[in-house]
Amino acid sequence: MPDSHLMSTDAFRTRNQMWDATGMWAWVLHRITGLGLVFYIILHTVLMGTSLLSGKEDFNETLSVLMGHPVFEFLDILLVGTVLYHGLNGIRILLFDMGIGVWIRTQKTLFWMFMGVGAILWFWFILLKLG
């Protein structure tokens, strides 16, 4: 009986986000860091390009602010953290694309393994920066 189709509605369709799942968080952070880096790479290219093109004095002045001011030092640490997360989780994704570790437990183990490596590298970077 094709005509006896039950009435259904999309209006109150519920939504679901798996906020308790590692894979979901890994992806959310990958997106956020990714979008942050897009913003940065464009800003960085335009800023470096314009200051290089506007000559020696301008460039040196810009760089002395970017590499001297404490706020930029802090932002630099943040940037490296962002790059480390996106890069290391990126390696995890590349492994999945090659068919490595695509199991529910393995993907979580991989995530925490890479995060461990990332934490060590970031800590090392902060020490170098402060030392």
């Binding site: 997106r31 990714g34 979008l35 880096l37 897009v38 790479i41 464009i42 290219t45 335009v46 470096m48 390009g49 314009t50 290089l52 093109l53 000559g55 020696k56 460039f59 040196n60 760089l63 002395s64 970017l66 590499m67 001297g68 490296v80 790059v83 890069g87 990126g90 390696i91 994704i93 590349l94 694309d97 970077f125 170098l128 920066k129």
Partner: protein, 112 residues
């Protein structure tokens, strides 16, 4: 087309892992702690391998970035017309930034 752009996103990812690592490492650890000055940049850019690395970073970095944003856009419902328009816009922005960047690098190195 998606298969190609997806593959290129992965290839650029691998290239960026190497090039970005080098780029950040070089800036932070081959320096004396003083702010980088113009003369030093010119010297670096006159070294062919460093120039190649910067150009690679520019091309693959911008591709990876813009395709990333484009795939965020694709995750939401959109019409075919919108997709084509946004894609064209991204290509234009990408070509613009890469062109400007390469021009800046070559100009600084004195190759132009």
């Amino acid at each position: 087309m998606h298969a190609w752009t997806w593959l290129l996103q992965r290839i650029s990812a691998v290239i960026l892992l190497i090039v970005v690592g080098f780029h950040i490492g070089f800036l932070h650890f081959s320096n004396t702690g003083e702010p980088l000055n113009y003369g030093e940049v010119v010297t670096r850019l006159k070294t062919p391998i460093l120039m190649v690395f910067d150009v690679l970073l520019l091309i693959f970095g911008i591709y990876h970035a813009l395709y990333g944003v484009y795939s965020v856009f694709l995750d939401f419902d959109s019409g075919k017309k919108e997709r084509v328009l946004v894609f064209a816009l991204f290509v234009a922005v990408g070509v613009g930034i890469v062109g400007f960047g390469i021009f800046g690098l070559l100009y600084t190195a004195g190759s132009l």
